[in-house]
Structure formats: structure tokens, C-alpha cells
């Protein structure tokens, strides 16, 4: 039993921290605040230049061959810093998928541009009528000569405003069980049939609804088999599971909330927060849950590194870390007292702003990436062996 990360991970984590320290400038924060875009080109290219977008690819495919522990550390650092990293995550996910099942065309045309940091990609899974039930996707791809014509819409297509392509889940067969009639395409977002509409979420971030009106793509843009989209989805999920996310946000929140109190900040009635029993207690609850969330993430990475798929471990980590984050955001907001309602930016100290925004952003944590209810279904049914609804046990 050894709770120390490998020296490679420790070194990598330090390097990532240094890059973040250099690139997470006031200008970047101002830009992120103004646009809400979950992406920054300077940071993205700095990460790409160091080969980190290829971190998960095997060395034989030109990647860095880093293990799950290192990848978990990378995303942990990004989350802990509050960095806008959706472009990074999407690029890495697609680079991995195309490395596993992509064609030469995909690798030359898309993967190389993603890995160089020249372009990024958005993910088009959810639709207005299908979120958790992702297999119910209705965006339709029909045969059009040798190619395809696509009609439909996607929601939560984050970074579409900066991306060159979208990785689009479509329905190619409405006559079979829903998960058997899906196909993935890479679709250029500059196609005249694509429309991107901004959607602002309550924590000041921006995502998009994207519309596809007779968008035509050649068959070379299809990824995976026709009607084999569900298997492609499994490949995508296998990349994510060892990097059980959602636990770094709590570190970001704790760091800023603790620093805020240590800086001598007072509440609206002039009382020092560092002396507040409630504030101290809430910091400690947050700290404890952060330690546990990090250990659960380490466990998922450890299982992944053995070659197994950490389905249960990933679900348990995501459920715990995100629910704990919601509780921490509420608890610290409460403990901050009346001035927590203010949206003064940094006027009351960056810590207050982080707590204020965390409260508004918390609901996203337990929803995106698989809702808590989906995780609980997975854990109770596949983990605890409890019977599916309607089954006589």
C-alpha cells in the first residue's frame, strides 16, 4: 500500500502548475468573465506545445503514454485552478477516440490539428429532448449519395464558438432499439447549415445550442460503424472513467475560502471570518470531503492503471465529489453571511467572489457528466445488485 504518487506524476503536476501559473493571467480571467467561454487559446496552445493534448495516447501513436494517475493529476490541476479547459478536455477525448478507432483521414485531417492545438472540437451529444437518455438522440443523418445530410439540434455544445468541428451523435436508424441506431460524425462548424446560439448559465459561463439544417458531410467524416455509435460512446467513456472528474472544484473552493478568512476578511457586520465557528466548521467539512474525493479519484485511476474499467469507482467518485461540492458551496455561502449575496467581483476579495460564483455553479456539477441519479442507478443496480424496476427479484 502506497499513497504517494509516482515521481513522474509529481513532476508532471508541478509542470502543469507552472504553466497554469504563467498563463492564468488577469487578462485571461477578465476575458473568461466577459465571454463565459470555457476555453482560452493561449492556455490551450501552451498545453498543446508541451504535447499534453497527446498525454493519453500511446507513444507508438505519437503520444506521451502517460498513465491514468498522471491524467487525473492534469485534470485535477486544471479544476483546482478554475481554468477554462473544455477545449483541452474535448481535444484530448477526440484524440483518444481517433487514436483507437479513427481512419487515416481522421488522423491526418482532425487529430493532427487537435493535437497541435491549432483547432479544437465541441461535443454534440445532448439534445433538448435527450440528456440523461442520450441514446434517444434524434438528430437525423440520412444517406445522401455517398455522403450524409444531417438535420437536428444539440444543446450544451460548449466551446462550439471557438471550435472547428463538432463530434456529433446522430440517429441513422429509427427502426431498431434506440441505442442500436446511432452513428457519430465529425461535422465542420463553419458549414452554412450550422447555427450556433449562445446559452448563458447562471454561473456566468457560456455554452451553446447548435442547429443543423441540411448539413452535408462525406462518408469519410463518419467515425465508427454505421449504427455503431453506441460502441463509439463506450470508447469515449472508457477514456473518462479513469479520470473521474469533479473533485478538483472543491479544492479551488476550499483554497479561496480559506485564504479569504486568513486574509482578515470580515462579514457584513465587521466580524472576522477566521473567528467564526460556523465558517471554520464549514471549511473543515469541505476540507474533509476534498480529501475523500481525491482518494476516490486516486482509486479510480489505480483501477484504470491495472487495465480494468473503473465503472463503479468512477461513478462513486463523481457522485460523492459533486454532491459534496454542492453542500460546500451552500455551506460556505451561508457561513459568509449577508455579504455573500453581493456580486462585486473581487471588491470584497477574490475568495468571496469564488464562493458567490460557486453557489451559482454548483447545480451544474451534479448534472453534467452524468447526473447524480444516473450515478445512483449505476451504483445501486450494477454495484449493489439491486433489481431493476419491474423485475421480480
Amino acid at each position: 500500500m502506497d499513497f504517494a504518487s509516482s515521481p513522474e506524476t509529481v513532476a508532471f503536476r508541478r509542470e502543469v502548475g507552472e504553466v497554469l501559473g504563467e498563463y492564468l493571467t488577469d487578462e485571461l480571467w477578465a476575458r473568461v468573465k466577459q465571454t463565459g467561454t470555457l476555453h482560452d487559446w493561449n492556455l490551450h496552445r501552451a498545453i498543446a506545445d508541451r504535447g499534453w493534448l497527446a498525454a493519453a495516447l500511446p507513444e507508438s501513436l505519437g503520444g506521451q503514454g502517460r498513465d491514468a494517475e498522471a491524467l487525473s493529476a492534469l485534470f485535477g490541476e486544471l479544476e483546482q485552478a478554475g481554468a477554462p479547459y473544455d477545449g483541452v478536455a474535448n481535444s484530448m477525448t477526440l484524440a483518444y477516440i481517433l487514436g483507437q478507432i479513427g481512419s487515416d483521414f481522421h488522423r491526418q485531417t482532425v487529430q493532427s490539428a487537435l493535437l497541435s492545438g491549432e483547432a479544437t472540437i465541441a461535443l454534440g451529444y445532448s439534445e433538448p429532448e435527450s440528456g440523461s437518455d442520450v441514446a434517444a438522440a434524434a438528430t437525423r443523418a440520412r444517406r445522401d449519395g455517398d455522403g450524409w445530410v444531417i438535420n437536428g439540434q444539440k444543446v450544451f455544445t460548449s466551446v462550439a464558438e471557438e471550435a472547428r468541428w463538432v463530434f456529433l451523435l446522430t440517429r441513422t436508424n429509427p427502426d431498431v432499439p434506440k441505442h442500436r441506431g446511432l452513428t457519430f460524425f465529425i461535422v465542420p462548424l463553419d458549414d452554412p447549415g450550422v447555427e450556433i446560439q449562445a446559452v448563458h448559465t447562471l454561473n456566468g459561463k457560456r455554452t451553446n445550442i447548435t442547429f443543423y439544417d441540411d448539413v452535408r458531410v462525406g462518408d469519410e467524416w463518419r467515425v465508427g460503424e454505421i449504427d455503431g455509435g453506441w460502441n463509439v460512446m463506450m470508447v469515449a467513456l472508457s477514456f473518462e472513467r479513469g479520470i473521474a472528474g469533479g473533485w478538483g472544484g472543491g479544492l479551488h473552493l476550499y483554497e479561496h475560502a480559506a485564504a479569504h478568512a486568513r486574509s482578515g476578511a470580515v462579514d457584513a457586520d465587521g466580524r472576522a471570518l477566521i473567528e467564526s465557528t460556523a465558517y471554520r466548521a464549514q471549511l473543515m467539512r469541505t476540507l474533509i470531503n476534498n480529501e475523500v474525493a481525491e482518494l476516490l479519484a486516486q482509486r479510480a485511476a489505480w483501477v484504470a492503471s491495472s487495465g480494468a474499467l473503473p465503472g463503479q469507482e468512477g461513478a462513486e467518485c463523481k457522485l460523492f465529489a459533486t454532491e459534496a461540492y454542492v453542500a460546500a458551496a451552500r455551506g460556505l455561502h451561508d457561513a459568509l453571511g449577508p455579504s455573500a449575496v453581493l456580486q462585486n467581483g473581487d471588491a470584497d476579495g477574490p475568495g468571496a467572489a469564488v464562493i458567490e460564483q460557486a453557489y451559482r455553479g454548483a447545480p451544474l456539477a451534479t448534472t453534467l457528466g452524468g447526473t447524480s441519479e444516473i450515478q445512483k442507478n449505476l451504483i445501486s443496480e450494477r454495484g449493489l445488485g439491486l433489481p431493476r424496476p419491474g423485475r421480480v427479484g
Partner: protein, 352 residues
């Protein structure tokens, strides 16, 4: 090497030995029979034979020479099976006695190492010379106490009353004084303070381990019941609200287990990425707070899912519910324990 969460072969063997022993010996019948005193001497005698009592003491005093992590593995099994023996307190006190063995007669230490004599730690400082609500106080031959007025760490050796204060957790609780006991000072001043604090942290870690085991057992009991119990022609475990009510616990149990194991690994000298991750003054209260919260939640949920049966004495769910609440509360209320942790992490209140 990256993080490796696997137990070594030896550690696995210890865990299996403890699991097999307690599963066989700490039966529900014996637990219930021992409820009034909270101690089963025959079980304790049998436990001595396994070597698990002396395992985490030094070889030079006749112990097994392994560390607190191995004791955590055993404590988890003892907690899982609600074993009515003072294993946690005895290990903590024995390790503390070993660290101060220069002050002790050799035969006295040897009897504690073997388990022939039971030792305990009064986990809260004495008040006016009285150690109140001492864990295992009703059955311990030796009690180590810290007096904050004199700043001394002292060993009281005498005859236990054999009578427990009636309590929710069926523990062998009693108040102790030095009356009728031989008294040996083990340490004074800053050394006493530090030694006491470290020993209480070890108690926190082992109690957290026992709570992890109790929680795992309570979850198993709940899962098994809702699979078996049918209402409206289906197992109640197929209802989403019931499933979801149990789904938070595997992650919390795994997390509590890792937090506790890492804390013990740190006491044994393990070094992780950041010193905070293995500092017992931080990790021990964290482990206890987290495990206590978990145990109280899961035992409540299991009692609740047993419906009317959950509140019947003849059913087992309530055994876990009562113990989950009592074990951690012996040290302090959660609010005090949170403030203790805050003092360690943020500095004391009213400080500079």
C-alpha cells in the same frame, strides 16, 4: 511507483485472519449476551490466541512488530462484527505503554502485550482527578490518564469494577479514579501533552476503522433486506427511492476506508505527495469525523428500510444504529471535534 492501494500479502493475511475469527466468534448471540457489560472475556481470551492483540507492538516487547495499518485492518473487522471486546482501546494504550516502558515493571508490560491484562486510555483529560466515561473503563486493569492541571501522563493500575454504566452502545463504560490503584507517572510537561495527543489520534484512527467496518456491515444488512422484502408484489429494493437511498454509501465507505488507512500508513512512517496528507493531527480527526457521519447515516438508513422491524430489539439493525452513535461521541461532540480540526488547520481561535 504510482499510488498503489493494494494490501501486501501479509496485510491481506491479517485482514482475512481477523475477518474469519470475528465472523466465527463474534456471533449475534454472543453480542447480545454481552450487552450489559459490553465485554465477552472468552472472546477476548480467544482473540489473544490469534496474535492480533499484540501484533502492533514491538518485537522487542514480545509483539508482532507490525504497524497501525495492520491494527486498522483488524479494527475494521472487529467493527464489522460488533465484537464486544476492547480491542481499539487496548491497542492504543498498549502502544502508549510500550513507548514509556522505561517507567514500567517488565512483567506488567508483558501482561498487557499478551492481553492477559486489559489496558485502556481515558481519551478525554481528567477533571478534578476523575476520568469520566472511560472507554473499556469497566473492564480495564490499567488506565492511562492525562491531567491537564498537573500536565502529567499517568498509569493507574487496579481492579476494574466489572460494572458498566448503562449506555446506548453496549460499551463497557465506567468512570475511573486513582483510588485503590498503583500510580506510575509516564511523562510530564510538553512530552506528556504530545504523547497524549498522539495516542488520542491513534484512538481516532482505530475507532474510525471500526466505524468503517460497522458501516459496511450495516449497508450489507440493508441491501440484503431490501432484496428479500417484498411489498406490492416486488422486492422493495427495486423501488428507485430505496435504491438511491443506499447508493451514496459504497463511495462513502470506500472513501472512509482509504482516509483511515492512509492516516495509519502515515503514523507508520508513510510519506505521500504532501505532508498534510499524512499528518496525524489533521488526518486522525478527519478520519473519525467522516467515518462517524457515515456510520450514523448508513445505520439510520438501514433501520429505516427495515420498516417496523428496524425498531424492534429482536432485530439486528438497531444494534448497528446504537453503536454508530455511541462510539465516536465518547471523544467529543462533532462540533467540538470540527473546531479541534480547525485549530490544527487554521490555528486556534483568538490567535494572531
Amino acid at each position: 511507483m504510482p499510488v498503489d492501494l493494494a494490501l501486501s500479502d501479509d496485510q491481506q493475511a491479517v485482514a482475512e485472519l481477523a475477518a474469519t475469527f470475528f465472523a466465527r466468534e463474534s456471533t449475534i448471540e454472543r453480542i447480545r449476551a454481552a450487552a450489559r457489560l459490553g465485554h465477552d472475556q472468552r472472546l477476548w481470551d480467544a482473540l489473544q490466541q490469534t496474535g492480533l492483540v499484540s501484533m502492533s507492538l514491538g518485537e522487542e516487547v514480545g509483539g508482532g512488530g507490525v504497524g497501525l495499518l495492520e491494527a486498522v485492518l483488524v479494527a475494521e473487522q472487529a467493527g464489522h462484527h460488533l465484537a464486544p471486546v476492547p480491542l481499539v482501546e487496548h491497542i492504543v494504550a498498549a502502544r502508549l505503554m510500550e513507548r514509556h516502558r522505561a517507567a514500567l515493571p517488565a512483567d506488567e508490560l508483558a501482561a498487557v502485550v499478551s492481553g492477559d491484562r486489559i489496558a485502556t486510555l481515558a481519551i478525554r483529560p481528567t477533571v478534578d482527578g476523575v476520568a469520566r466515561l472511560v472507554p473499556a473503563g469497566a473492564v480495564a486493569d490499567h488506565v492511562i490518564v492525562f491531567d491537564p492541571d498537573t500536565g502529567t501522563l499517568t498509569l493507574w493500575s487496579g481492579t476494574p469494577s466489572g460494572r458498566a454504566l448503562a449506555n446506548v452502545a453496549d460499551l463497557p463504560l465506567a468512570d475511573r479514579t486513582s483510588a485503590g490503584s498503583t500510580v506510575i507517572e509516564l511523562a510530564s510537561g510538553q512530552q506528556a501533552r504530545a504523547a497524549f495527543a498522539a495516542a488520542v489520534d491513534e484512538w481516532r484512527i482505530l475507532t474510525a476503522a471500526a466505524l468503517v467496518g460497522l458501516s459496511a456491515a450495516a449497508l450489507e444488512l440493508g441491501v440484503e433486506y431490501v432484496k428479500r422484502r417484498h411489498q406490492f408484489d416486488v422486492p422493495i429494493g427495486s423501488f428507485q427511492s430505496v435504491k438511491h437511498g443506499l447508493a451514496e454509501f459504497p463511495g462513502r465507505i470506500a472513501g472512509a476506508r482509504l482516509l483511515t488507512q492512509r492516516a495509519a500508513w502515515g503514523v507508520d512512517g508513510g510519506v505521500a505527495d504532501n505532508p498534510d496528507q499524512t499528518d496525524p493531527s489533521r488526518q486522525a480527526p478527519m478520519a473519525l469525523l467522516f467515518a462517524a457521519d457515515l456510520a450514523i447515516d448508513v445505520t439510520y438508513r438501514t433501520v429505516h428500510y427495515h420498516g417496523g422491524y428496524g425498531v424492534m430489539e429482536e432485530e439486528d439493525a438497531q444494534l448497528y444504529y446504537r453503536r454508530a452513535k455511541g462510539w465516536p461521541l465518547l471523544l467529543a461532540s462533532p462540533d467540538r471535534e470540527l473546531e479541534h480540526l480547525a485549530s490544527v488547520v487554521l490555528g486556534p481561535k483568538g490567535g494572531s
